[in-house]
């Protein structure tokens, strides 16, 4: 027995700063291997003898060992975390995207750090700054617009990023979404097909995607020679059913000849349908109405709402799959995935 140099932990471990939880060292000891072998076994690293692997796994199970993510992150310089940032959690749309992301990432042992930036670039920047400190493996972001500081932060991090909801065509950019312009144009063509002549765009919460939809819509109307700028009604206010009702009232009062309306989302359209019912304005007889996103309730309104169905589960699922590939340094066949959209024609148009 050496007298000096007693480096190993003292016999009674329940001292000082220990948490009482079993550690890798405990698992290693109880399965008769070194901590590093235990670590490799638990991480599923192929080079470990399968026999040892099962011994280690068993020991871990009996001890109720769960890896300490902080220690792992500190030692490996990255966490097992993916950051997912959305502009709003109040929008069912993004909940479904996040849900799909979870379904792909959780089984891989990754955790998802959710951030809601309330459509504020400043909040988004703050979230990025804070979450980057966690050394995530990658980020799933909404759209392409963000503050310069945020972009600089992201670039400096050199982390994989997949941008959701919109499409782009730049080298080194990864995204999963659909053409918002094309969707807007599809709505315009549908209303034109219905013989509508005085067609309005009603929008709130004017984010990049809402503007793109409007653009596609406008161009299609211009192409048909039926675009009237006076029939574009936009407010930066938060979108809601109440706002939809109010905007519809105002629009129809000022422009009684309007015979078709594209709402930038379903919430606004719901409000308009309710308000029309109250005013005795018949939909679609006098006015056709079309929403966007096709939320679950839209199929059940009276009249049932025509809408663009967006494939948010697909978006979340494929974006998560992309980030997984990027983490594993796999080649992506297609850096930007177009999941498309679907015009669901119902009674309101």
């Amino acid at each position: 027995m050496s007298t000096g140099n007693h480096k190993k932990p003292s016999p009674q471990r329940e001292v000082s700063r220990r948490t009482g939880r079993p550690t890798l060292a405990d698992v290693a000891e109880s399965s008769g291997v070194s901590p590093i072998t235990a670590s490799r076994a638990l991480r599923g690293i192929a080079t470990v003898d399968p026999h040892l692997v099962s011994k280690v796994r068993e020991a871990a199970a009996t001890l109720g060992y769960v890896v300490n993510p902080a220690a792992r992150a500190l030692a490996s310089a990255h966490s097992q975390t993916i950051v997912a940032l959305v502009p709003s959690l109040s929008n069912q749309l993004f909940i479904e995207v996040l849900e799909a992301i979870h379904e792909v990432l959780l089984p891989q042992g990754l955790e998802v750090l959710i951030g809601d930036y309330h459509y504020s670039p400043d909040e988004e920047e703050k979230l990025i700054r804070n979450y980057l400190a966690h050394r995530p493996r990658g980020l799933l972001l909404t759209g392409f617009e963000r503050s310069e500081a945020a972009q600089a932060l992201l670039a400096a991090s050199r982390l994989p990023i997949v941008q959701m909801m919109e499409l782009a065509n730049a080298p080194g950019v990864f995204c999963v979404g659909f053409s918002q312009q094309a969707a807007g144009a599809a709505v315009a063509r549908h209303l034109l097909d219905r013989g509508r002549k005085r067609i309005a765009y009603v929008a709130a919460q004017l984010d990049a995607r809402v503007m793109q939809r409007g653009e596609g819509f406008r161009h299609a109307l211009q192409h048909a020679g039926l675009h009237d700028p006076a029939l574009e009604m936009m407010t930066p206010a938060r979108s809601s059913v109440a706002v939809g009702g109010d905007m519809f009232s105002e629009l129809i009062t000022n422009n009684p000849d309007v015979d078709g309306i594209f709402f930038c989302n379903d919430d606004l359209a719901h409000g308009a349908i309710f308000e029309a019912a109250r005013q005795g304005i018949r939909v679609p007889q006098r006015i056709s109405m079309v929403g966007f996103n096709d939320l679950p309730i839209s199929a059940h309104m009276t009249p049932r709402l025509t809408s663009i169905r967006t494939l948010r589960a697909d978006i979340g699922q494929r974006a998560a799959t992309q980030i997984l590939s990027l983490i594993k340094h796999e080649k992506l066949e297609n850096p930007c995935v177009d999941v498309g959209f679907e015009l669901i024609v119902r009674e309101s148009s």
Copy 2:
């Protein structure tokens, strides 16, 4: 110069496992104090000379220093994290609760780990197990029901816990919510006041709270001598607008004399209102309808929906405040806070 024993970091730091990000040591060096003083200054620990504090803060700002949460968590044996678990993110209700929680906790430098367990006790248990590994400061949970294993895990963690949505009266239990029974009873009394005699309860997603509402409702009807078990219609299926429409159809077909319905949530009621319109059944003339939660859209339906307004922002805000107090070892005047509820009478009843 000593020859052996060169323990200090080599001059050029950009070696090996470093991440390139500024560390506390960098901040300390650049402000001429020791790392531990820098740490204390940044954490706002009172014992540090105010002059040094500002020097350290400045240095941190210039360097763009952000604390490494993994290192902090490892050294201090806990993270700056609060776990918040809800049974569903698809329910706007819980989004609003989480929103309020964020508003209280984020400014305190805490992070919120959100977990959605899809109404599954197994998933909840798994989330608790995984999140506990992060050494959170406390947990915000929904209701009181969970698996025994989950309860054991929580008890062993000795962490502060606040349970949301329901009320309890046990020592050592902290909660913020309202009496689901009382809310159910209030609906029953309202329908009785309206002169209704054949009153039904329609419920889906039969969690503890839905059952409690039903209980309070049932007792009030029994008390009035007007309870008919045949008019209780329950399905474990996920609640949705579509399910609400279907359940209403079935109920009214089998019991054409029903003249009042309490839906366990607004979604079901919305579906019923739409379906009634389609079948030409007049609401409230032939049947009164009452929902639960008072979602935003309920005020805009035709007819506008009578509902119980639940104070979810209050619940989130006060639960977060409670957990903060518990973390700081402050005494709570009131371990269980009743935020109440409000019957919002509109056109549908």
